[in-house]
């Protein structure tokens, strides 16, 4: 079984559908958590490096919060929740309304963000488990607060060091009631698992 070097339109559609399910569950969880409706963009899927995501986050120098975890079990993958600095402050503001506006991100704000990451990624992984029947176990989340370029390079290096070529499945969630409040969810399954995943989805023809 060789790793695909590029994906067909059908495979991309199947991946986007998977991303839809995952991000949809995550959106419901976020909505339940903050008590506001959450809008979800149609996820995109790529067989590529993470450079494009940097643009979505505002460029290499833009400060972001990243919650990163590994998925193990029937599929060894990676997941990240990426939140731009200003959006992280608004999101924490919604969840901790008694904090004075403009207060710095302290330990409470950080652990709140990490918990949001935990809840959203668990919802995402749970949806994939339902969809594929795979046993998928997320690890405890790791946190970084740094420039987008540095965070994405480090993620890419970690994944490559684990011996994997990755597929990038990204989806953005937004809270329309709070302007400029949203998160980017990125699921990074290894390309070597694509045939197995497509088979589990009943898409044998795509292998």
């Amino acid at each position: 079984m060789t790793e695909p070097r590029r994906l067909t339109e059908l495979q991309l559609d199947a991946l986007r559908e998977m991303g839809n399910m995952g991000a949809g569950h995550a959106a419901s969880s976020l909505s339940a958590l903050i008590g506001h409706p959450v809008r979800m963009d149609v996820p995109s899927a790529n067989l590529s490096d993470l450079g494009e995501i940097g643009t979505l986050l505002g460029g290499r120098e833009a400060m972001v919060w990243a919650i990163y975890l590994m998925v193990s079990g029937d599929l060894e993958g990676h997941m990240a929740l990426l939140v731009r600095e200003a959006e992280a402050r608004r999101l924490v503001g919604v969840l901790l309304p008694n904090r004075p506006a403009g207060q710095d991100m302290d330990e409470l704000a950080e652990s709140t963000l990490a918990e949001i990451g935990n809840i959203l990624t668990s919802a995402y992984v749970g949806a994939l488990t339902q969809l594929t029947g795979f046993d998928l176990r997320p690890s405890a989340p790791l946190l970084a607060h740094d420039q987008a370029g540095a965070v994405l390079d480090s993620l890419a290096a970690e994944i490559q060091l684990a011996g994997q070529t990755i597929v990038t499945l990204e989806g953005r969630l937004e809270v329309p009631a709070v302007p400029g409040c949203g998160v980017l969810l990125v699921f990074l399954p290894p390309a070597s698992f694509l045939p197995k995943m497509f088979a589990a989805l009943g898409l044998d023809a795509l292998r």
């Binding site: 120098e61 400060m63 790791l142 370029g149 540095a150 390079d153 480090s154 011996g163």
Partner: protein
């Protein structure tokens, strides 16, 4: 974002933005205006990482950069190195992944094998860095995210210890 270049024009300036767990290696010739600026992402090429580009690896990238400098007239014994980066970007239980320290160790080992002295460095820690390399490597400054001033690294004095 990983690659390297060599240059001999003092007027040229390079910026390395968002140097996280990656390492930057700057090689300059002692006797003439000539510098190599490298930004590497992965430690050792022979580790079986699925990446075809040798310039993304610390060991093969540094070796190729040193060779290119020699081809432009630098004597191997007259090169000196500055190493920066290699932060531990993610924190959590068990300290998180350690690719940054592995990249730094690979840079130290590779430069040692090539007989190139490390005369300045700013490595480790938990934050990314932004570098500005000017005047053929005679002026190198390092700043952390959100930091306004760019303190200039002193090639003669700075060691491999990380700042606090």
């Amino acid at each position: 974002m990983a690659s390297w270049i060599t240059a001999d024009a003092a007027s040229e300036t390079w910026r390395i933005v968002g140097l996280g767990s990656c390492v930057a290696v700057i090689l300059r010739a002692v006797s003439k205006p000539l510098v190599g600026v490298g930004h590497f992402m992965l430690p050792i090429r022979a580790d079986g990482v699925p990446e075809d580009n040798p310039d993304k690896f610390v060991d093969t990238g540094i070796a190729a950069m040193a060779e290119a400098l020699e081809a432009r007239g630098a004597r191997p014994t007259s090169l000196e190195a500055l190493v920066a980066g290699g932060a531990r970007m993610f924190r959590g239980f068990g300290g998180g992944p350690a690719i940054g320290p592995r990249n730094v160790a690979a840079a130290q080992a590779t430069l040692g094998e090539l007989g190139i002295a490390i005369v300045a460095g700013d490595v480790g820690g938990t934050l990314s860095r932004n570098l500005i390399v000017a005047d053929c490597g005679q002026a190198v400054s390092v700043a952390y995210p959100g930091q306004t001033g760019h303190p200039v690294l002193d090639w003669q004095v700075a060691g491999m210890d990380q700042p606090t």
